[in-house]
Amino acid sequence: MAGQTITRADLCEAVYQKLGLSRAESSDLVEAVLREISDTLAKGETVKLSSFGSFVVRQKGERIGRNPKTGVEVPITPRRVLVFKPSNVMKARINGQIVDDED
């Protein structure tokens, strides 16, 4: 397997190829999409993207953790965490199966 890292620049290139807008605008639009998703999640709202997956914000209660180096017990404060649940379509695609898009 390759093991390269894809970044925003690659996403912008893909958008540029598909939509034929300027590179500057393609890059602004990629940013706008990510910002819109992040802003929604920051409000605690779930984002469901069909045939891709869902981003869900979970509330975690306080629990006792341990510093792995010293063994000292420390309380872990309650917090919100972001989890991604991949859709079945994405899981199948990543395993090289061909699937129909049902958007």
Binding site: A14, V15, E36, E45, F52, F84
Partner: protein, 100 residues
Amino acid sequence: MIKSELVLKLSEMNPHLYQRDVEILVNAILDEITDALRRGDRVELRGFGTFSIKERDARQGRNPRTGEKVSVTGKVVPYFKSGKEMRDRLNPKAGAARKS
């Protein structure tokens, strides 16, 4: 929020684009991420998070209802880790107490 609502919102913010083009935009981004993962690449989006894959070995499983043994094939599963900026936005003013 679902994909169509995201498309609608972005269309309102970009009245010079056809809604159809905004749909192509969103799908192009998502497909690019999925394709990268299929190739075994990782996708790093600073401020948002990183997508990568984890390989699961084949294993001997059991049908939980019948207790029958079944073999489960090895597979690749997608994994997402939220970025620092995203975690900070979800937990504002937790600054003092947190250690990555």
